[in-house]
């Protein structure tokens, strides 16, 4: 038979014991975890017990006044990217972009295909084009040629240009030179923290703002990798390309550039 006593009553030993023991364990561990342990930590300088508790609770605290906040000594990109950005451009936007693009044809070709070792823009992801234009304009990416050309572009102009170039058909190499991708492209180098190029730049997966590289001039690709590796180019906000390029050997930089240049 089951006994008939009330469960939720302090006269019921099961209730008193279970609630009491549980509460005691919680309270003792809370005192240890929120007060005693933080105060034992040699590296922390708390103003008092409450300060230690707030820290152990994970409160986001503003840095004390007078603390030096480390800022980059160069301009960083101001573009915030999300995957839905610049999707579904209107025909008008593409049309306006086509008109604006007339000033770009000298270097980037009449239909976005370059003859001058400058990037092919035809079929490039719109987010990539927009971000680079904004970075040239703000100075986050430095180019003596591009800077004056983007100076008077409005935000809408840059979006239209992005829409237009994304709309153009991509470059097609008549006889693709590239065969099997080199090791650095296919597998990266895990022990040096280098992901496979295709993990972001198409092929395996494409990440927002990572450029479409296939068919780009080898000279351009090599120059950019070298600029990333020296830090001369620094508009990758998470330093992802700088970290990768810095770890690449000169041979790997050449191999990757030649490979992508030779892709259809």
């Amino acid at each position: 038979m089951v006994t008939r006593e009330t469960i939720a009553s302090f006269r019921n030993p099961w209730f008193t014991a279970s609630v009491g023991i549980t509460a005691a364990i919680a309270i003792v561990s809370a005192i240890v975890g929120f007060v005693w342990l933080p105060l034992q930590h040699p590296g922390e300088r708390f103003k008092g017990v409450w300060d230690a508790i707030c820290s152990a609770a994970g409160l986001v605290r503003n840095a004390a006044s007078g603390t030096q906040i480390v800022r980059a000594h160069y301009l960083t990109t101001s573009v915030e990217i999300d995957p839905q950005m610049l999707r579904g451009a209107s025909a008008e936007s593409i049309g306006r972009g086509a008109t604006l693009a007339l000033r770009c044809t000298m270097c980037h070709g009449a239909r976005g295909l370059s003859q001058a070792d400058t990037p092919n823009l035809a079929g490039e992801y719109p987010v990539t084009i927009y971000k680079e234009l904004v970075d040239f304009k703000t100075g986050a990416r430095v180019s003596a040629v591009m800077a004056p050309l983007v100076a008077d572009l409005s935000d809408a102009d840059m979006r239209d240009l992005a829409a237009y170039y994304a709309y153009l058909p991509r470059v097609s190499v008549p006889e693709p030179a590239a065969g099997e991708p080199p090791r650095i492209v296919a597998s990266g180098a895990p022990l040096r923290g280098i992901a496979p190029c295709g993990a972001c730049h198409g092929e395996v997966d494409s990440k927002a703002s990572a450029a479409w590289l296939e068919g780009q001039p080898a000279v351009y690709l090599r120059t950019q990798l070298e600029a990333f590796s020296t830090g001369a180019r620094h508009n990758d906000i998470g330093a992802q390309m700088r970290n990768i390029a810095r770890q690449m050997t000169a041979t790997e930089i050449s191999a990757a550039s030649e490979f992508y240049a030779g892709r259809p």
Binding site: M1, V2, T3, R4, E5, I7, A8, N12, W14, F15, S18, V19, T22, I25, A26, S29, A30, V32, G33, F34, L37, P38, I53, S55, A56, A57, G58, L59, V60, E80, I81, D82, P83, Q84, M85, Y125, P181, A186, S187, G188, A189, P190, L191, P196, A199, G202, V204, D205, S206, K207, A208, W212
Partner: protein
């Protein structure tokens, strides 16, 4: 009298079929990232396979086993037809539809986000909606377990709820509450993003919500195994359950302390304060209590069986045990794996020690040993024990059963011990490619190769298991004797009311969840600027 036979069989067959499908995927993953195979050059295939393997093995397989076994227990422990059979079929249908909805985008490479979701990675919405359907289907089961128990109590006032039913309901409540964390994450964070309504997500908060589910889900997987320890093993080997009360207390303890501990999965996460990490560490340590109680009670029960069979002396009873009985063999092998896995778990739960193994292959080895080993081997035992009662046919391939259980044990040890070892050496988990030509990790090649061998033995064992079941399905018909659960040495005579219901224990479970999770969640919600842009996977341009 029994009206759930087909229902239980449907659950178990679907569970074991998905298990049989996902098992070779695991071995393939081991193989292609081992030194035995050149790099496949496309990590997406690897992550696609990991997602399919994890989703099936973590959500579909154990949930269906728990549901099917729960329905079986309901009828046979309460000794009356189950209430709500149609609802149960609806729940099953939801799980089946959910599984298909989740697996199709995974197979197409549109949701290679791993079963733990990992936002800000975002896959196809159908994947997440499918997982939600699986969970909703299992909630139908939770409701039915509860309704059946309460109706029985109403019709049998003053009688103790039979222990198998009590334990099953405890497991169902644990699942109902622990699934809430992932449900909140999916419904309010991930699915709106996957459907394109939002483009940023608070990944830190999502990880906290997922940790709410992630640890106690393991105890939900474990429940059928523990129920089998208490209610099948002593009877099957001719003994008695040492203590009915001890069993009830063990399941109650699971209910209370299994929940507020998940943040030990997020020890290295910056969004949770160290105080809460410590609190979760303490409560994780307390989970050893119900497990120790169980190990003690079951060993005592087994000793009773040994002595009833004529065993004498300090260790003589061990020799007298029916070692050729698959249930005896299964529980012994399960305990060995539980011992090693539990010892590893103690390292994971301790804040400083965890830092040395966090995100290494040690963790993968650990959960395969505990879940794939100690728990799943008991799923096999359960199937062997109840199969004749479901099919009405004999199941007597005892030699095959023993071979299957031994190969599963050996395979799991050979798979997971080297896995733990390379984890200690620092081999990271969740990576598709390891360059063994590099001197830094060349020494790990031999261990990884051993694991591949262990995986192959497991695949063989999985095939044997399915062969045994299929043979059972085609064997001559028989009318098995009425199904019995273990009887305690002293069946409950004056059971305290607290051990016959769940009100108090559910109160403690919810209260501890609020204490341990309330502030970290509220703080994340209240802190601006914590959302990051999502990263869509499987997009092809």
């Amino acid at each position: 009298m029994w009206n759930s036979r087909r229902l239980v069989l449907a659950h178990l067959w679907f569970a074991f079929a998905s298990f049989g499908t996902a098992l070779p995927l695991g071995e393939w993953q081991m193989f292609i990232r081992s030194p035995l195979h050149p790099w496949i050059s496309d990590p997406e295939w690897y992550y696609r396979s990991v997602t399919a393997h994890g989703t099936t093995m973590a959500y579909v397989f154990p949930t269906l086993v728990a549901m099917g076994f729960g329905y079986f227990v309901t009828e046979h422990a309460l000794r009356r037809p189950m209430v709500g059979l149609r609802w149960a079929w609806l729940g099953f249908a939801l799980v089946v539809v959910g599984t298909i909805a989740a697996i199709v985008p995974v197979a197409l490479g549109r949701a290679s986000v791993l079963y733990t979701f990992y936002p800000p990675l975002i896959g196809h919405p159908s994947y997440y909606i499918g997982v939600v359907l699986v969970v909703v289907g299992s909630w139908v089961w939770v409701a039915l377990m509860s309704i059946n128990m309460y109706r029985w109590k109403r019709d049998n006032p003053g009688a103790p709820v039979p222990f198998p039913m009590f334990a099953t309901v405890a497991g169902s409540y644990l699942w109902a509450w622990t699934a809430v964390g992932a449900a909140l994450e999916l419904l309010f964070q991930i699915i709106p993003v996957a459907l394109g309504w939002r483009s940023t997500i608070d990944a830190g908060l999502a990880r906290v919500f997922f940790s709410w589910t992630l640890h106690a889900i393991v105890y939900f997987w474990l429940m059928p195994a523990y129920i089998a320890y208490y209610t099948i093993v002593p009877r099957a080997i001719g003994g008695r359950l040492f203590s009915d009360t001890m069993g009830r207390i063990a399941f109650i303890l699971f209910l209370i302390v299994a929940m507020p501990i998940g943040i030990h999965h997020a020890f290295e996460d910056p969004q949770v304060g160290s105080g809460f990490k410590y609190l979760h560490s303490v409560f994780t340590a307390l989970v050893t209590l119900p497990t120790s109680l169980t190990v003690f009670t079951i060993c005592a029960s087994v000793e009773i069986a040994g002595r009833l069979r004529g065993g004498k002396g300090v260790l003589g009873w061990l020799k007298a045990l029916p070692w050729r009985n698959p249930v005896m063999l299964g529980v012994a092998l399960s305990f060995v794996m539980l011992g090693f896995g539990g010892a590893g778990g103690l390292i994971n739960m301790s804040y400083p020690l965890n830092a040395t193994v966090h995100n290494t292959q040690w963790i993968t080895g650990h959960f395969h040993l505990i879940f794939g080993g100690a728990i799943v081997i008991m799923y096999f035992v359960i199937a062997y024990d109840i199969w004749p009662h479901l099919t009405g046919r004999t199941l007597d391939s005892f030699g095959l059963m023993r071979a299957q259980l031994w190969t599963w044990f050996i395979g799991m040890i050979v798979l997971t011990f080297p896995w733990h070892w390379v984890g200690i050496l620092g081999m990271p988990r969740r990576m598709a490619f390891y360059d063994y030509a590099d001197p830094a990790i060349a020494a790990q090649a031999a261990s990884v190769t051993m694991s591949v061998g262990g995986g192959a033995i497991l695949v063989l064992s999985g095939v044997l298991f399915l062969v045994v079941l299929v043979r059972g399905q085609t064997a001559p018909q028989t009318e098995p004797a009425a199904y019995r659960f273990s009887v305690a040495v002293r069946p409950p005579r004056a059971l305290p009311a607290a051990l016959n219901g769940f009100g108090l224990w559910l109160g403690l479970m919810v209260a501890l969840t609020i204490v341990n999770y309330g502030f970290p969640i509220a703080h994340s919600l209240a802190t601006p600027g914590t959302a990051v842009p999502v990263v869509e996977v499987g997009e092809r341009w």
